[in-house]
């Protein structure tokens, strides 16, 4: 009885800790980071004034601390602003839409492994065996929030934003799912904690090297030297996955749902105050979850990599009590790196045209991901087939893959043809 209570308590602590203590401030500060980083790129300063208002308490000068309290002030502002609901909107959907964007983004956090173990407790809220699938399933729900917001606003620009977002998310979910098939084929499972553990032992997926027992490549277990070739489909997977995450989170260069030059503010044009803030936070939460997923799948999650994790293990191969903290820091470091990468891309790449966006998703990434699955499969199957002396069958498989690829390219090319100008 007590143990169940303790279990529940531990889960509660994890939920509160990871969601509200770790992620929400991270969201807030990623907004701050975005503003400062953007400012620096554009030769500006960014928010550097909001600090501790010592003068309110009788001090002589305020303490600006580089504007680090800006997110707090922003949050306060959002809460205090008038929560205005226009008269022409569909009230029910208008009200639940912001929640529908924010909640799925935070829900997906529960399967992300934040670290290894802290005093024997895994640093993940729900250690389930279908991690990535769960994330895809839940993250897809957030499209409802945006669609509802656009539709219920009863405003044509908002509606366009909602429709665009809907189409975009559905399109990119396909390449998102297909792109990680080779990755999952290598891991052979869907439990994210185990995936990370595998990477801790064999090196990160994209940097599969360990040095604790001399130089070793983690991919060599798939048929020695031939296994090294797996790195290429994995790299492609990473590329498609990352770009698709950009599209899924509506980040630049794919932020067409809130394309201000065309749609005023997009689906959240009619929103103000905390409801708007929820959209805003949901977007950044999605970005953080996306970064976490990239890190978990391709960059070893919380693992330090390169065989360094062995230093945190005792002789029996169990984690030291404090190992979780080190891993948590490593994980957060990687996630923050990717958040900064997201920001850098936003201020570098101009926005896509909507037809370009759709073509990229359906004509390029979808085909590439399919071919990628076949290539990875052939490479994985090659060593055992050679061992069994089925070289002919292997050649046939390879030939089939090449023919399939060629066919795909041909189809893509025909679709790509420009309509002939009227003579």
């Amino acid at each position: 009885m007590d143990s169940i209570l303790i279990q529940l308590l531990i889960i509660l602590v994890k939920i509160v800790g990871f969601t509200f203590v770790l992620t929400l401030p991270l969201i807030a500060y990623s907004v701050y980071a975005e503003r400062r980083f953007a400012a620096v790129i554009q030769d500006r300063v960014g928010p550097n004034r909001t600090g501790i208002p010592l003068t309110l308490f009788g001090g002589k000068k305020d303490l600006p601390v580089q504007g680090l309290l800006q997110p707090l002030a922003d949050g306060l502002k959002f809460i205090l602003k008038e929560d205005f609901t226009p008269s022409h909107v569909h009230k029910f959907f208008f009200w639940i839409a912001p929640g529908l964007t924010m909640v799925p983004a935070l829900l997906t956090l529960c399967v992300i492994p934040f670290g290894s173990e802290l005093w024997g407790e895994k640093l993940v809220i729900a250690d389930i065996a279908v991690g990535p699938l769960f994330i895809f399933a839940i993250a897809s729900l957030s499209v409802y929030g945006i669609t509802f917001a656009g539709w219920s606003s009863n405003n044509k620009y908002s509606f366009f934003g909602g429709v665009r977002s809907c189409a975009q998310m559905i399109s990119y979910e396909i390449s998102l799912g297909l792109s990680i098939v080779p990755v999952l084929m290598i891991f052979g499972q869907l439990n994210l904690t185990d995936i990370v553990t595998w990477q801790a032992n064999h090196g990160w997926l994209l940097l599969p090297f360990t040095f604790d027992d001399g130089f070793q490549c983690g991919l060599s277990q798939f048929g020695g030297a031939i296994g090294y070739f797996l790195w290429f489909p994995l790299m492609l997977s990473f590329f498609i996955f990352t770009v698709s995450i950009f599209a899924e989170t509506n980040r630049m260069p794919f932020d067409l749902p809130e394309c201000e030059t065309e749609l005023v503010g997009g689906y959240h044009t009619e929103y103000s105050s905390m409801k708007f803030a929820l959209f805003f936070l949901g977007e950044y939460a999605a970005m953080i979850v996306g970064s976490a997923l990239i890190v978990t799948l391709f960059f070893g999650g919380w693992s330090l990599g390169f065989g360094l994790d062995a230093l945190l293990q005792d002789a029996q191969g169990n984690w030291l009590p404090y190992a979780g903290l080190v891993h948590l820091a490593a994980f957060l470091g990687k996630v923050i790196f990717f958040i900064l990468f997201f920001i850098l891309v936003r201020w570098t790449v101009p926005r896509f045209r909507y037809d370009q966006l759709m073509k990229l998703g359906w004509v390029v990434f979808f085909e590439l991901a399919l071919i990628n699955v076949l290539v990875a499969a052939v490479i994985m199957a090659a060593p055992s087939m050679i061992e069994r002396g089925e070289s002919l069958a292997l050649s046939a498989l390879a030939l089939g893959t090449i023919i399939f690829s060629a066919l795909m390219f041909y189809i893509a090319k025909t679709f790509d043809k420009k309509p002939k100008a009227n003579a």
């Binding site: 620096v40 790129i41 554009q42 030769d43 500006r44 300063v45 850098l344 201020w347 570098t348 790449v349």
Partner: protein
Amino acid sequence: MAEVKKLKRPELNTSEKLYLFALAKGAAVTLKHAFKSMTGKARGSEALKSSGLGLTMQYPEQKWDDQLPEHYRGAPALVTDEQDRERCVSCQLCEFICPPKAIKIIPGDIPADDPWAKVEKRPKEFDIDMTRCIYCGMCEEVCPEQAIYLRKDYAITGSSRAELLHDKQKLYEIGGKRIGLVNKWNEIK
């Protein structure tokens, strides 16, 4: 008939079509810029007296007073000349031209015992409502007596409307003495 020039879209080769290299190059440019900006080496930061981050000057701490151009249009003010004569004769042309109707003048006589009694007329009251002033400089342009000038004062603030109503005394305070104007009202005249 204007010449019609037909332009062709540039043909991209495969590596360009891949878009990846352009992406990487773009990111490198942005990053380089960010780095320069952070180390205070952004282009033009020297000339613009940047605070060391980007090109921006940190306003209340740093000011650009010595960088204001000659033609800068700040607060309008009345001036006196080297004869210490208040130049305004309250012809009210500025009041007439002022687009936001910020100027209000009540004309008055110059008393006979004044050394400049021959000028006869001067403003009894001269108010410029700085909450209305749009710094257009029309008053300066229209003034036939070279009496009103837009000075370089730009930080016109106040905590009440009354504070932002510049009266005659305040206007002469801001304006001060201006040397080298045409002295229409001299010993001969």
